[in-house]
Symmetry: C2
Subunit: 372 residues, 2 copies
């Protein structure tokens, strides 16, 4: 399975409509792939009805692209919807039902008041737990506190994730935030959900990303893709400080690829909250258990480190337009593998993308490899 | 590709939550298939966020079923979402990524005021056309008027669809409506969107349906499945009186199956509005162009006719819980092919299911065959 083209919009506050953002990303990916007509379309959007007032996005987008005759589906797994769409396209092509599938995902929400955005995204939390007022940042705060207590994670380590990702964002012209932040600024920003502060949390971003997947060899190969799930209710989990859904997804992806984390040279990790990058580096096996915090602090995951993580700026600095994010991670890694990441280019043949859906209920790991 | 088990809830006004309805259907299908653990789950729901206030349905349902470790996705193509989920499962199994996939779809909306339901469902209409106040019944009325003018369809023919489907509903204990209606009652019911009257329109129903799909031979085979799409905007279509999306879907399904409409002996047709049954009988090739109205009036599509259509009662009488409908059609046909449709059993080896998404923007045709 190959990726023949990749494209994305600038992330951030955008005035365009979601269909226009998706079209910008999709047309860019189609042009990159040098094809005009995919024979399938998979659209990812998490909450387009609530945010944009329109539904039926599969049909809305194929018509908007001038591809109304191209079979189209919408796929959703909360914040990992983008990769769920990639997986659907993977299955559609691997089954022989389709040959070339355009996958596009995105979200438009910066025009919606923040409390309403928070409420809508919060619907991906277990309804019983939500009935007590739980929000995504509140649960992330709970997990962070538990990880600090049980795994010795420190606030400096967590904060360094944000510093690093903002530094990477300064090198990405498509990133939502392109300004550096200091460790002090992160650690002194206002509380969102103790111990998490504002600069530990990703912003509310608009944007879209797209790839063209094909059965014909191209520059980037999808070597493996794996899904992992866990209970939507946090209270049913035995451990809050690691994500079983990531561990399962990583195992499945490595199994399909036939290699393990040792071959990965660059990765995009779902840092919706800064501590999740550290937790996920360990869940994916990229860094041994208990070592990712220190590795971050020591610069191992920086752009010039041993294992650059979130060269795009991550969710923290590139931004997190929900269903756009999982695809944007893959776009960034395609550019890295193809030597097109000007200003932040690293040396890599193998890359890993990691996406979290909901509060780690539906996660994905994708392994990409440059054509040799 | 095989269907190893099928199940559904009673459709109608239900007090249970959507997860409970989905669980009822899913557990029934799993029991029928005599398996406990599928290795994949595809959930179909059209507007669960708006109707139920909860999201992340892939994870919500796998957790609710006690299958939180089973990879789960949500798929949506408006009112045909149920079959889109079947197609996703088909691809997942045909690709070798999964072996046994549970597909469950449904909707819970009878608790929501009707104008709000109408507005939410209306979001699957092109936003520009919707900005002029268009609703689904309004567009259906427009299409019906055009079909009467250009194709000579009569109100008696259209009304007979409702009479027949209500008659079938009296024989289906799971149907929303189990009362017969007379031609006069249909033709004199109040206007919804001229020329459509109340009894030409399907009700607002709650309910869920599920099937278990597998690579292992079972009693019912999916011989073919095809998708067809068309512009979301009605104003871009050259003809309002036939649905290109159905024609394309049927061609694809027949091509995969290797046979044509002549082998079909029973069918479930998407009669959200009664005239759509007549239009769709011709679009699927089951009845020659211009003949389906008269065939209906003459009883050819009745339970004891040459080609029984909507033995379940159809959307009109069985009910139409949006994403549940496409799967419920397949459930009914599985029961027919397995000789389990007590009280309304017909003789058939080959069956066709036809589902419309939005205003015929994303349609599906599925061909089922009894194991020989």
């Amino acid at each position: 399975m190959w990726i023949a083209g990749a494209g994305m919009t600038r992330f951030g506050r955008r005035d365009e409509t979601l269909p226009d953002l998706m079209a910008e990303a999709a047309l860019s990916a189609l042009a990159d792939a040098m094809i005009e007509q995919p024979d399938g379309l998979v659209v990812a959007a998490m909450n387009p009805e609530e945010f944009t007032g329109a539904g039926n996005y599969g049909s809305l987008i194929n018509t908007h692209l001038g591809l109304s005759h191209v079979p189209s589906l919408r796929v959703e797994t909360a914040t990992s919807s983008g990769v769920a769409a990639v997986y659907s396209a993977f299955a559609a092509i691997a089954s022989g039902l389709h040959k070339t599938v355009l996958v596009v995902g995105g979200e438009k929400m910066s025009h919606v008041p923040t409390p309403r955005v928070s409420e809508i995204i919060g619907r991906s939390i277990d309804p019983h737990e939500r009935s007590y007022g739980t929000t995504m940042p509140a649960l992330a705060g709970l997990i962070t506190r538990a990880a600090m207590h049980r795994r010795g994670l420190t606030l400096r380590e967590i904060s360094q994730v944000a510093v690093k990702n903002h530094a990477n964002g300064t090198r990405n012209p498509l990133a939502h935030f392109q300004e550096a932040v200091t460790l002090e600024a992160v650690m002194e920003s206002r509380f969102v959900a103790d111990p998490l502060r504002l600069f530990h949390c990703c912003p509310i971003s608009d944007g879209a990303a797209a790839i063209v997947m094909t059965s014909e060899p191209a520059e980037v190969r999808i070597a493996g893709i794996g899904q992992g799930t866990d209970t939507i209710a946090m209270r049913y989990r035995s451990d809050l400080t690691a994500f079983v859904a990531t561990q399962t997804a990583a195992q499945a992806a490595y199994k399909m690829a036939g290699f393990g984390p040792e071959r990965v040279e660059v990765a995009e990790i779902h840092d919706a909250f800064a501590p999740f990058e550290i937790i996920s580096l360990e869940d994916t096996g990229l860094i041994p258990p208990g070592k990712a915090g220190r590795a971050t602090l020591e610069g191992e995951t920086a752009l010039d480190g041993r294992l650059p993580i979130n060269t795009s700026g991550g969710l923290k600095a590139r931004g997190h337009p929900l269903a756009g994010t999982g695809i944007a991670q893959i776009v960034e890694l395609c550019w890295q593998l193809r030597g097109m990441a000007a200003g932040r280019q690293v040396h890599a043949q193998v890359a890993l993308a990691h996406s979290i859906g909901g509060l780690a209920t539906n996660n994905w790991v994708t392994l990409l490899e440059a054509r040799r």
